[in-house]
Point group: C2
Chain length 227, copies 2
Amino acid sequence: MIPPGEQEDRSSGWKRDQISYSTIRRLSRYYRVLESVAEEELTHISSDQLAQRNGVTSAQVRKDLSCFGTFGKRGLGYPVKELRNEILRILGMDHQWPVVLVGAGNIGRAMIDYVEFRRRGFFIVAGFDVDPKKIGITYKGVPIFPMFRLPGVMETHEVEIGIVAVPALAAQRVCNQLAESGVKGILNFAHTRLIVPSGIKVRTVDMSIEMETLVYVVKNDGSFPLD
Amino acid sequence: MIPPGEQEDRSSGWKRDQISYSTIRRLSRYYRVLESVAEEELTHISSDQLAQRNGVTSAQVRKDLSCFGTFGKRGLGYPVKELRNEILRILGMDHQWPVVLVGAGNIGRAMIDYVEFRRRGFFIVAGFDVDPKKIGITYKGVPIFPMFRLPGVMETHEVEIGIVAVPALAAQRVCNQLAESGVKGILNFAHTRLIVPSGIKVRTVDMSIEMETLVYVVKNDGSFPLD
DNA sequence: CGATGTGAACGCGTTCACAGCG
DNA sequence: CGCTGTGAACGCGTTCACATCG
């Protein structure tokens, strides 16, 4: 049913293969380590060091990286800064990503506050809300607009990513509005499964599920890894 | 290196087996569907209906449930309310879980606001912060205390779960304090990998990683499932 | 007949082990 | 010799297929 799925090369010489969800998430964590190591002026790092700092095996690190190219030097390790830049590029963090935020409640404002976001190249161009008391204000430099301005703002800023931080009951409606405005990816904090047209990617972060998973392992001294 | 790990039966007649992380998370979602279905006064639901409402296969649903017992009736489906209660019990949500919150910033307050939490049996007994401006106030009925009161509050309320909602730089210190006060599980929102004594479970929710994963699939039209 | 429960088959990510190279 | 890169082996969660039972 699924065709062999050819996959052409990108800008630099990638290997073709199917990259897994887990690999991408680990890449994101390797990057964090490389960032701090770079400050220590170390020039090279071994797969084993990277592994230990992330709670995985060195073979895992090497496999993950080998999906994208050959970055290491045998007997030496990986050049810290080069590898860091490489991962940056792979993740698409080598340029800025404009983002819209729907819902200016606590979660929404937390996202605006989140300094790590800015550092990683995400910037929230505007927030949107239905609450008249929130509309018109500017929170930490981010203007909060009424919903009807969503399509316009998304178009002018060429926004592809939206954050949904509204109550569960409003989430699907907001999601539809984002979809109509041409969103490509949604980070959803609402306690609901969103239905989207095919092609739009949704990542839901559900605090309830996280808590329940945590409680389960605590209660049963569960042995599966949580992280 | 890891001993075979026997696993004894609990209260009612569970099956012994190794439950997977994914199974628990799905259970949490099945529960949500059962909740809404129960309101529609339907008495039974098939694995197929449960599956479609969650974007998984019916075989998956049956396998998941069969880990914990035999709840369905052949040719009929699963009794909605019974199954709901069963899952409630499996997840440990059949009783209240007192929780402490460290960090009364936006994320912290978002957790206090999060109504779903209350409904699921989590209640935040107190918040803690180092900011004198926050200490002493009460947010939505939750008092905010100075850090030194953490051990006392945790003991009197027999708290096992803590939420870390502080900046990355403070997270490990807070984590240590929680550990010393006898925490069993931590939900961590800080952009850091926490080091904990063995036995303490940590679930980290890192918005940066979520965003970067999302961006990757958007950018490369990634084909792996995000949710 | 309809839907569950489950052993067997499958697919895929992780780990192992070692060849290869600086 | 040290560490990378990688094919092969492994383990495990998912899917298939069907016996089973109301």
